[in-house]
């Protein structure tokens, strides 16, 4: 499933140094669980995003392993520390080998 995948991330534009901020991410993906059957009774093969990572200036914030029990359009919310100005990098890993990336700048102010 490489079509129609659109990552969306919500990060504040500025933060105080050392502040904890909330990051919300959503990626449109059908997350086919591998349990469902099609009209002919055949199993639809599994196709999910199996891993998500978030890094800030090269340091890890979270690394999440996703299983088929995660809903369609996986939504993830977590908190990150902002020690300095820089860039958040978000990466989603698809079962089919695709990697979706998104980045957001944050300033100290």
């Amino acid at each position: 499933m490489a079509s129609g995948v659109k990552p969306r991330v919500k990060v504040p534009k500025t933060a105080a140094a050392g502040e904890a901020i909330v990051i919300k991410t959503l990626i449109s993906h059908k997350m086919e669980s591998g349990q469902r059957k099609d009209d002919d009774g055949l199993l639809i093969p599994r196709s999910i995003i199996n891993r998500f990572t978030c890094d800030f200036n090269g340091q890890n914030v979270v690394d999440i392993t996703l299983e088929p029990a995660i809903s369609t359009n996986p939504y993830l919310e977590f908190e990150a520390l902002v020690p300095e100005a820089g860039e958040f990098k978000f990466t989603w890993y698809d079962d089919d080998g695709d990697v979706y990336e998104e980045s957001k700048e944050i300033a100290i102010g």
């Binding site: 669980s33 059957k37 914030v61 979270v62 392993t65 299983e67 029990a69 809903s71 908190e79």
Partner: protein, 138 residues
């Protein structure tokens, strides 16, 4: 009906399969817990799992986990065809060991969050969620 040797064997096999099915499902969950904890003792204080008591739609059930000081949190849905839900690993820049997501549940069941704390011990929290419509497309 005359109970022949063949029929009684078939009956026995059927009864065994019916018995084995639920046992196998929970065993998968226990295996996943054992694989994560390595068989260590699991405490109860220190991890919080927030989930609704009743979920109308099993396709998207919002959950929240938090465990101050934990390095990893494993979430399992024991009544799903495969118990694994997600594994959260927190890096040095995680402001808190908190995460929120939406999960699928096949039916009414227990959801378990197990956290690995900084000192290497494990704690768990369980929440029973009633599901009106299951989320496995059945």
């Amino acid at each position: 009906m005359e109970l022949t040797r063949r029929k009684s064997l078939m009956l026995g096999a059927g009864a065994f399969a019916a018995l084995a099915l639920p046992i196998r499902v929970s065993a998968a969950g226990e295996d996943a817990i054992a694989a994560f904890t390595g068989g260590a003792e699991i405490g109860t204080e220190g991890v919080k799992l927030t989930a609704p008591e009743i979920a109308e739609n099993g396709n998207t059930v919002p959950i929240e986990v938090s465990a101050p000081g934990a390095s990893e949190i494993l979430v399992l849905a024991l009544g799903n065809p495969t118990p694994g839900v997600a594994m959260f690993k927190f890096g040095p820049l995680a402001a808190s060991q908190y995460a929120s997501t939406r999960i699928r549940l096949a039916g009414t069941q227990d959801v378990v969050a197990i956290a690995k704390l900084a000192d290497g011990s494990f704690v768990k929290a369980t929440s029973t969620i009633k599901v009106t419509i299951g989320g496995c497309g059945g």
